[in-house]
């Protein structure tokens, strides 16, 4: 084991531990993670969300054989049936639900040039508020801006050199 630890290469490699990202990076990471999670959910079509929920549900039941796509699809069909029954009782909601996918699928994190002509916020105001299953998806339609106030000043000097 000593041969692995005592040589020059090992020492130099150990010094690589000090190559670190800026301290603010780790603080920001969780924030970024949540933002991506929300973005991903918003970008997914409804059927996919249902499928994943059903899949997770099956996994919870601890019945491995059921955690397969055919079962998930069957479960989804059941959900869809229940949902459509509810929708049948509230026709306006259904109409709005079918119109809104376009606006919801605008990703905050798109590859297109971000320009002020089409900010996500105006897209939000165009949609009607939904009273159904989709409502929870609507509350996080776009990530709010990050209000800047870091917890430490960005500048720092590590050594007494000048």
């Amino acid at each position: 084991m000593d041969e692995f630890n005592d040589n020059e290469i090992a020492r130099l490699l150990r010094l690589k531990r000090y190559e670190q990202p800026p301290p603010a990076y780790f603080e920001n990471f969780l924030h970024e993670f949540h933002r991506r999670q929300r973005d991903e959910l918003l970008r997914q079509p409804l059927w996919r969300i249902c499928l994943e929920r059903a899949h997770n549900f099956m996994l919870q039941l601890d019945i491995r054989s059921l955690a397969s796509y055919p079962t998930a699809v069957a479960a989804m069909l059941v959900c869809a049936a229940i949902f459509s029954l509810k929708v049948y009782q509230q026709p306006e909601t259904a109409r709005v639900a079918s119109q809104s996918p376009l606006t919801l699928s605008v990703p905050v994190n798109s590859d297109q040039e971000w320009n002020l002509a089409s900010p996500v916020s105006t897209q939000i105001f165009r949609t009607q508020p939904l009273r159904s299953f989709r409502e929870s998806a609507q509350t996080h339609r776009a990530a709010p801006p990050r209000y800047v106030l870091d917890s430490v000043p960005v500048s720092y000097e590590p050594t007494f050199k000048f």
Partner: protein, 228 residues
């Protein structure tokens, strides 16, 4: 932060009237997991639907996994993207985590595998995007020994060596880079590395030995021909 969207649904066993079923299930899970898994509680709470428990796991493992992924990819931006993907994948897959290994091993496997896949796809087209060296290196015993003269020239030498080392690391194959990163930089013992990579300890040792020799050769070459 509202996790309404990201919350897994509540355990069916909690909704069923038979609490006994729940107790039996949790006992079985507890027996499955290695007794000393310190993350057991957080994992269970995440599986039960408490998304903030997963946040704690993210915060705990980000620095460690950062080191692992960064030293394999030598690119900060790629590391950031990979880390996001790793935790996203872990979050999706955690419901199926049965605790046969510790969470530490499990998430490290995900990280290593995703990094290796990424590197294999990336191939030779890469750009170094290295992190700056943290100030605390000044307090490192080995660093102080290495630069312990009053001549600033030595520090420039060390810097050049580090740069060559980074280059040499990129010349190693991804699998060799992985073991070098885990053993020398992350300080993981052979046994842990073999569990994460699912290879024998002997394979880990021989990869390390080979990689060490390769790296030493590159550095020796540089010393003989310092002008690149």
């Amino acid at each position: 932060m509202d996790h309404a969207l990201a919350l897994p649904a509540r355990r069916i066993s909690d909704l069923l009237s038979s609490g006994l079923q729940a107790r039996v299930k949790s006992k079985r899970q507890a027996m499955d997991q290695p007794r000393s898994d310190p993350d057991q509680d957080l994992v269970k709470r995440t599986q039960a639907g408490e998304a903030s428990a997963f946040d704690d796991l993210v915060v705990k493992y980000t620095p460690r996994l950062y080191g692992l992924v960064y030293n394999m990819t030598s690119n900060h931006e790629d590391t950031n993207d990979l880390l996001q993907d790793i935790f996203a994948k872990a979050y999706k897959a955690i419901r199926g985590f049965r605790g046969k290994s510790s969470f530490y091993t499990w998430i490290h496997s995900i990280a290593v595998n995703m990094s290796l896949n990424f590197l294999k796809k990336r191939g030779r087209r890469f750009q170094l995007s290295l992190d700056d060296v943290d100030a605390s290196i000044q307090n490192d015993k080995e660093f102080m020994e290495a630069t312990a003269t009053s001549s600033p020239v030595r520090e420039a030498d060390l810097s050049e060596l580090q740069r060559r080392l980074n280059e040499a690391m990129m010349k190693l194959s991804e699998d060799h880079r992985a073991v070098v990163t885990m053993f020398h930089i992350q300080g993981m013992p052979h046994a842990e590395i073999s569990k994460i990579l699912r290879v024998s300890e002997g394979t880990v040792r021989s990869r390390l030995f080979y990689a060490n020799r390769q790296l030493q050769n590159y550095l020796d070459e540089f010393r003989k021909n310092p002008v690149s």
